[in-house]
Assembly symmetry: C2
Homo-oligomer: 347 residues x 2
């Protein structure tokens, strides 16, 4: 697939990259001048042994603006200046206005009683489509494939940055998971460390090909499949409607997929979301995360996507409370084999 890419520097210094199947012509519209100086920093949690990010500037972030002030829509001449100063685009990626990690972070505050570090990295917003409504399920096949190529390109670009050790595209969808903008979009975080959870997964994959050992036994857990990819409810799901999407052959990330694999992956991802939306006849909230190999784990890590939906029924949420937050032990009231059947039969 030939993807055209156009880079633009916003007046506040942030990068905006437009991706399309055709080159994007024409000059940008006028953009407001504004100084941004995000200053996140990291502090070490000595009992959980993980980094916590402090990003105080995020308190001001845009919260469910009216449709006509959506910052992720294309701009119109003389209209509300959005994040994308062009009258049209296909997929847009820009540096988050309220980042948790930045390429040139200031030093952390001095004199803290725990280790502190600069929040080096990068946080990006990925706008899936110029259309204000829709989802991974309603994109055209071509749009979804372009998006998959954008994820791939962002992996390559962000892992190439000095100091980045883990890159994670993700999507928060629905107000139930705290989404503040409804325009179809996701994000990519480039972390300066390997988060403990990923370190744990990487260690498991170093010891055994966990997913490949599991695949032959997943028939009762199968939700959908397509050209070498499987969508399934893990037999050890922590959320009632948790779904994973993975290639049957091990890949460290989608940067090693063939053209055919890219297309199959994009189609299957779209169908999983279509199944979710069919389940209760309404947009289904979820957190979707991509787990690709952290830096140095390319030889054993098995790329997969995890969907965490907060719903346990149409009108009931699965809350994380005492045992989940305080003991990292999830209690689930639906069996994976049952939710897999529901998701399999819904389409």
């Amino acid at each position: 697939m030939e993807v055209h890419k156009r880079c633009h520097r916003k007046p506040d210094g942030r990068e905006l990259i437009l991706y399309g199947l055709k080159p994007l012509e024409g000059p940008p519209l006028a953009e407001p001048q504004e100084a941004l100086a995000p200053a996140p920093h990291l502090r070490y949690h000595p009992l959980r042994r993980e980094w916590v990010v402090y990003a105080a500037h995020r308190q001001e972030r845009t919260f469910l603006p009216p449709k006509e002030h959506c910052p992720l829509c294309p701009s119109r001449e003389g209209g509300f200046p959005t994040e994308i100063p062009f009258p049209t685009f296909q997929v847009a990626v820009f540096e988050n206005r309220f980042p948790s990690f930045v390429p040139s972070p200031p030093p952390p505050p001095e004199g803290l009683p725990v280790p502190a570090e600069r929040a080096l990295g990068r946080c990006e917003v990925v706008v899936y489509t110029p259309s204000h409504t829709g989802s991974l399920a309603t994109l055209t096949e071509e749009e979804r494939l372009l998006l998959a190529w954008v994820w791939r390109e962002r992996y390559q670009a962000l892992y190439a940055l000095e100091g980045v050790r883990f890159v994670m595209p993700f999507e928060n969808r629905g107000e139930a998971v705290g989404v503040t903008l409804h325009h179809p979009h996701g994000q990519v975080y480039a972390y300066p460390f390997v988060p403990p959870l990923l370190e744990r997964e990487a260690q498991a994959f170093r010891e055994r090909p966990v997913l490949q050992e599991l695949f032959p036994h997943l028939e009762p857990y199968r939700v959908d499949g397509e050209g070498g990819f499987l969508a399934f409810v893990p037999p050890f799901a922590r959320y009632p409607f948790e779904v994973w999407v993975a290639p049957l052959e091990r890949h460290p990330g989608l940067w090693t997929f063939s053209e055919e694999e890219m297309a199959a992956f994009a189609r299957l991802l779209g169908r999983v979301v279509a199944r979710y939306d069919a389940l209760f006849g309404e947009p289904f909230p979820y957190v979707m995360v991509f787990h690709a190999a952290p830096l140095g784990e390319e030889r054993t890590f098995h790329f997969h996507v995890e969907f965490y939906p907060p719903k346990r029924a149409k009108d009931k949420l699965k809350f994380l409370a005492g045992t989940e937050l305080g003991a990292s032990t999830f209690v689930v009231d639906a069996l994976p084999e049952d939710t897999a059947r529901r998701l399999r039969e819904v389409l």
Copy 2:
């Protein structure tokens, strides 16, 4: 403190224990006959390397009943039969009707593609007071002290059970954390394993006295204190209004507190909740968990209480989404030193 204890076996086989400063006299009221057969089981998550509990019977659990059908109130002769078939009590503890762990679990399903185990253990509900309203902050000093002795006694009773390796009292408060019953109460889970998070904390304490090294530097993070106990916002807080309560001297759990320490601990816990409630002038939701030494860690673990509040402002929730759930990395938009000052100055 002399605590009177009366054990009662419910017709469905569950144990109910009443605690009081005076003995509770009089026969129980009539109780409905009902067969319960909770059959939770454990499955192993091979990538996160933790146990997940499946408790399918929990789907039916009581959800925000009207006040007159509160199952945690005392029963009245001829009235709605609550969980406590007595017209009065001080503190009541009973086995959860919808348990995640049970003392005699059935074997797990056969033929699962991941390791499975019996969900051995015990889950209890701790009813703080016969009054339907109130909180840790509004209990009388005597009631709160009795409650602290009950926690202590439950620790001792549950750690004595065969196969139990970690015991955790906790409280989920407020609909924002999914509470289904408003009557002031908490829970205790007795786990048949050491959850990975606690294993991580225990490892940290085996290496260094993390909290005792921190205490001399906590002045900017101090919220309150009382007789050898400190309430503080950890300098590495993961929630904007996170507060920890800990004894300055190391104790593995509250079972080693002196009489004076029990009293100071109970008072301070009540004052932390009073500060929370004063913050926005309304009941403040939180998850509160007790971290005491898992089995075998008594020599180095430092008991402490962690409060995780889901609010970042009066009308704004802190949602856990992509980076928190998918990478175990928390992003916080308030600095601990600022929230500590707010909580310090609010009373």
